[in-house]
Symmetry: C2
Subunit: 344 residues, 2 copies
C-alpha cells in the first residue's frame, strides 16, 4: 500500500485526465469526485475509476471537452445538457440554479441529460445538504436486473440517495443500489468460485441461482427487497429516464452496444428547502429530527454513512492508502498515447 | 357474503359517518376512500375501517367537523392544516392548488398537517395520475419498527407510494409499507399460533424472533430489505415529519398515549408535471415508458397494482362482496349512541 495525501491524489488524477485530453473544467470536477471516493474509503468510486474513464474515452463513448449547457425550463426545473461529457461538471454548473430555485419555490429539480455516469450520488447529495437543503437523487444504469417475477435483465442497478442537513454535524445521508448487490460483488464470487447467497440472482428460467456465471451471462441480478425493491427500481427508471427525456437502462445498454464503457444516461436530483416548508419553526423541527437520530443510535443501530464519515476523518488527518498495483496502473496511464487521436 | 353495489356501499358508509356526527364534506371524502378500498379488494382499507373510525371518534382522537385550512406557503408548496380531522378532506381541498403549482412550476409539494390517517396512498396517487401528473406520497405512522441493527420500535410502517400516468390505461402505481409486513399479518400469526417467517421481527435483544407475541410486545417489527429498507423508512420519517412540521412515528405514538386510535401525523405528496419536464417531447417519452412496462410484462412479471385494477373491473361490473359479520358490525354502528356527546 502507498500512503498519499489527498492533494497528491488529486494532482495525480488531474494529470492523468489532462494527459488524455479532458479540458480543465471537466478534469477538476471529475478528479474531485475520485478523491472524495478514495477519501471516504469507497474504493469502487475512487482512483480505480481512472482506468474505466480512460477506457471509455478510448472507446469514443465520452466527450472530454464537453461544455454543459444549462436550460432554465420551468420555475422549479433546471436541465443541464452534459453534451456527452461525464456528469460531474454538468452537476456543478447546474447546482447554483437548482439552489436558487429550491430557495425561491420550496423545492426544485435538476435533470442532467446526456451524461456519462459513474459518480457516487452521495457526493452530489452532500453538496446540497452543505447548503442546508434536503436532497434526493437517482439514476438508471444499464440493464442487469430482472423485475420481481421476471428472469431477464431490464432494470439497472439504479441507485437512490437521500440527504438531510444537520447543523454542526455530518448530514444524514444514504446512497444505495436498488439491486441486491453491485455487479462487481457477483464478479468477485465468480473469480473466487464461490456460490452466491440467496436473493442475488436468477437463471434464464427465473429460478434462484447460486452460480455467478449463470446469473451474469444467462439470467439476471435481482433487486433488494423483492417486489418492493423492484417497484422502487422501476420508479427510478421512470423518474430519471422518460420523465427527464433521457434513456432507460435497457436503452442505455443498447446505446453502449457491448463496448463495456461507463454508462450513458440521465440523472434526477431534487432539492427541498426546510426554510420554505417550516419558516420560523425550522429550528424546532431540526431538533425533532435529531431526536429521531438519537433514537436510532441509542439502540445500537448505525446511521447510514457513519462508517464513511469515520473514514473521511481518518483520511483528512492521515491521507489515504492506495494499493501499489492500482497506483502503478494509474501512473501507466500517463505514459499511454493520448486519446485525442481516437476520439469518436 | 353479501353482494352490494358500490353506490349502496357508499350510502351505508355515509349513513354511519353522518349518524356519528361527521359533517357532509368530511363524510363524503372518507366514504369515497372506503368504497375505493372495498372496490379494489383491499379489505384492510375498505368498509372494515368504519369500526376504527368510530372507535377513534369515541376516544376523542379525531374531529368530525374539522374544516381544513389551505395555506399557500411558497410558490411550489401548499400546506393543508387538517385541524384534527381525517386526511381525506384535507387532501381534497389541497389538490387543486397542488395541481396548479405543479403545472406552473414543474413540480410541487402538498403537506397535510395535523390529520388522522388511515387511507391507502394509492387513492391520492391516482387522483394525481388522473390529471396527468407523476406523483409520490409517504407518511409516518406510529412506532412499531426497529431500525436495521436495532431492537426497539422507532419507525412506523411508513408507506411509500408512486404513480405514473399512462394514456388510455390504468396508471403504473405502487403503494407499499416499508415494514416487512403489516402489523395485522403478525397479529394473524399470533392468533393462529403460527411461527413468523424470517425477517419479520426481532426480540428485545434485537435477535431474529419467530414468535409473534414476542415481536409485538417485547421486540419490534423489521423493515423490508434490511439496511436499505431501514434507510428508506428513516427518509419517510424525515420528509413527512420534521420537514413538513409534523410528528415522527414515535411522537405520534406518544400523542396517542395508548388509546389505540387511528394515528395522528402528517403526510407529504409530491406532484411532477411531465409536460413541464418534456415540452413537445412528452409523447415520445411516454412511449419509452410504455416500452419499459412491456419489458416487464413480456418476461412474465406483473406491474404493481395489476391485481388491484383487475379487482376494480370486477367490482365496477358486479359490485363487491362484504362478509356478513362485517356488514352486521357496520350496521350496528347505526344503532349506537351518536358520539357527539363524547367529543374530546
Amino acid at each position: 500500500m502507498a500512503r498519499m495525501a489527498l492533494d497528491e491524489l488529486r494532482q495525480l488524477a488531474e494529470a492523468v485526465l489532462r494527459h488524455h485530453g479532458f479540458i480543465e473544467d471537466q478534469l477538476r470536477a471529475i478528479a474531485a469526485t475520485l478523491v472524495a471516493g478514495q477519501r471516504d474509503e469507497c474504493a469502487a468510486h475512487g482512483l480505480y475509476r481512472l482506468l474505466g474513464i480512460v477506457a471509455t474515452l478510448k472507446a469514443g463513448k465520452v466527450v472530454p471537452d464537453a461544455v454543459p449547457e444549462v436550460h432554465d425550463v420551468a420555475p422549479a426545473i433546471v436541465k443541464v445538457d452534459a453534451r456527452g461529457g461525464f456528469s460531474q461538471l454538468a452537476f456543478a454548473v447546474g447546482l447554483p440554479l437548482l439552489e436558487e430555485k429550491a430557495r425561491r419555490n420550496g423545492l426544485a429539480a435538476l435533470a442532467i441529460n446526456r451524461c456519462v455516469h459513474f459518480s457516487a450520488l452521495w457526493i452530489e447529495i452532500e453538496a446540497l445538504t452543505a447548503r442546508g437543503l434536503v436532497a434526493l437523487a437517482c439514476n438508471p444504469t444499464q440493464a442487469y436486473v430482472a423485475p420481481a417475477g421476471g428472469r431477464r435483465p431490464l432494470f439497472g442497478t439504479n441507485p437512490l440517495a437521500f440527504g438531510w442537513p444537520r447543523a454542526g454535524r455530518e448530514p444524514f445521508v444514504f446512497d444505495f443500489a436498488t439491486s441486491a448487490v453491485a455487479r462487481g460483488e457477483i464478479e468477485l464470487h465468480r473469480r473466487a468460485g464461490k456460490p452466491l447467497p440467496d436473493g442475488w440472482g436468477v437463471d434464464a428460467q427465473g429460478e434462484p441461482s447460486q452460480d455467478a456465471r449463470t446469473v451474469l451471462e444467462e439470467g439476471a441480478l435481482l433487486t433488494f427487497g423483492g417486489h418492493k425493491g423492484s417497484a422502487l427500481s422501476a420508479m427510478i427508471e421512470l423518474l430519471a429516464g422518460p420523465l427527464i427525456g433521457d434513456l432507460t437502462s435497457p436503452e442505455s445498454s443498447a446505446h453502449d452496444g457491448g463496448s463495456g464503457a461507463l454508462p450513458y444516461h440521465g440523472e434526477l436530483i431534487l432539492a427541498l428547502d426546510p426554510q420554505r416548508f417550516l419558516g420560523p419553526a425550522v429550528a424546532e423541527y431540526q431538533q425533532r429530527a435529531e431526536a429521531l437520530f438519537a433514537g436510532i443510535q441509542a439502540q445500537g443501530a448505525r446511521l447510514p454513512s457513519q462508517r464513511r464519515f469515520e473514514a473521511r476523518a481518518r483520511s483528512d488527518a492521515q491521507g489515504v492508502e492506495v494499493p501499489d498495483a492500482l497506483l502503478a496502473d494509474v501512473r501507466a496511464l500517463l505514459n499511454q498515447p493520448t486519446s485525442s487521436s481516437t476520439r469518436g
